[in-house]
């Protein structure tokens, strides 16, 4: 077998994954330790429900483990990992959306997230303002079409480049840009009432 990607040249994560393939479970534990939080945080913000996010994350890492035999380091490890993650998340969101056509939309966003405000005691008013802003943004994120939602979360919290998001979502870079631009525009407009000028922009 010709080793086009020599083991020396591939990234650390891929190397770990290849060890998992060869039966080394410690390497799997290391990969889990390293990527668990980013996967769960992404899923949590996608579905806005901790229990569901954790269940989906279990599924993600189970699939990673199951794929060890066939794993090939053809893409960056995080790209591969997030392909699995977004696949599951998008499916979940789509299924939920179908269900919602029948259910009423009473079921509200889980409010489980303790908000971390700057430790220097923000005054109550600022706190309330920031809470209100975040509330609007979360609602707006929940209303975004699922691909836009995924793209924004990967761009903002995973700090991924357009090219990596494109590789994950299986679309072109320009498609990613247009997903992101539309998403950010919707999110900004959800915050119009908080614009510093606050002048006349409110109603539309």
């Amino acid at each position: 077998m010709d080793n086009v990607t020599s083991v020396a040249s591939i990234e650390r994560d891929a190397e770990l994954m290849l060890r998992v393939r060869d039966g080394d479970e410690t390497s799997f534990a290391l990969l889990l330790e390293k990527h668990r939080n980013s996967v769960i945080h992404f899923l949590y913000r996608m579905v806005q429900n901790q229990a569901i996010a954790e269940e989906l994350a279990q599924e993600v890492f189970l699939r990673v483990y199951r794929s060890r035999q066939t794993y090939e380091p053809t893409a960056k490890f995080t790209t591969w990992l997030f392909r699995i993650t977004t696949h599951l998340a998008l499916n979940h969101v789509r299924d939920r959306r179908k269900d919602k056509l029948h259910d009423s939309i009473d079921e509200k966003i889980e409010d489980g997230a303790p908000r971390q405000l700057p430790t220097r005691e923000a005054n109550v008013e600022e706190r309330l303002l920031r809470d209100a802003r975040l509330g609007e943004v979360r609602k707006a994120i929940e209303e975004l079409p699922e691909k836009q939602r995924g793209a924004v979360l990967m761009h903002k919290y995973q700090e991924m480049e357009y090219s990596q998001i494109a590789a994950i979502l299986g679309c072109s870079e320009s498609a990613v840009k247009s997903l992101l631009f539309r998403a950010y525009e919707s999110l900004r407009s959800s915050l119009r009432q908080f614009s510093p000028g606050g002048n006349g922009l409110k109603a539309s």
Binding site: F28, R45, R130, F181, R188
Partner: protein, 162 residues
């Protein structure tokens, strides 16, 4: 004054600027543009507010038994008998075409054993993998529930053992 940038340029510069990812030259040019373009200035202001709000969005603390649960599932999966198709693909042929050949032979055997008139056979070939996965996963969920009950007290130790 109307903005000279098209929508995509506006957005791309805006995102780069707010996250400080523009190269210095582009950032300078954009700054100059901002001083004369109210529309882009408003977009920057709003994007900053959005960015700040998104930064405020913390995530809940992970359940303590997350890893334990995952490793229990993995262990259960390893101990569960492998479905036939997995055993087949895990068998290390140096010569890959052997796998589809073996599969074809197996399907032919199934067909012969079950006899003709199995109109659902074709449908089964597609569905069989998904069905088996589902079955295995159901079994795993049950096992996991049992496992969780029996190991509730030894939670911290379980993580270390892998």
């Amino acid at each position: 004054m109307n903005c000279i940038l098209n929508t995509n340029e506006q957005e791309e510069l805006l995102l780069g600027y707010v996250s400080a990812k523009l190269d210095p030259e582009t950032a300078r040019t954009y700054s100059r543009h901002l001083s004369s373009c109210e529309r882009c200035r408003t977009m920057v202001e709003m994007q900053k507010i959005l960015d700040e709000s998104l930064d405020d969005w913390a995530t809940p603390t992970l359940s303590e038994n997350f890893d334990q649960k995952l490793f229990a599932r993995i262990r259960a999966e390893q101990e569960a008998p492998k479905p036939w198709w997995q055993a087949l693909t895990n068998f290390n042929f140096g010569w890959k075409p052997a796998i589809p050949l073996a599969l074809a032979a197996l399907l032919l055997a199934v067909f012969l054993v079950r006899g003709p008139g199995q109109s659902e056979l074709a449908q089964q070939q597609d569905g069989i993998k998904a069905d088996e996965i589902e079955q295995v996963e159901k079994a795993l969920d049950d096992m996991e529930a049992l496992h969780a009950l029996s190991t509730a007290d030894t939670a911290p130790a379980a993580k270390e053992s892998i």
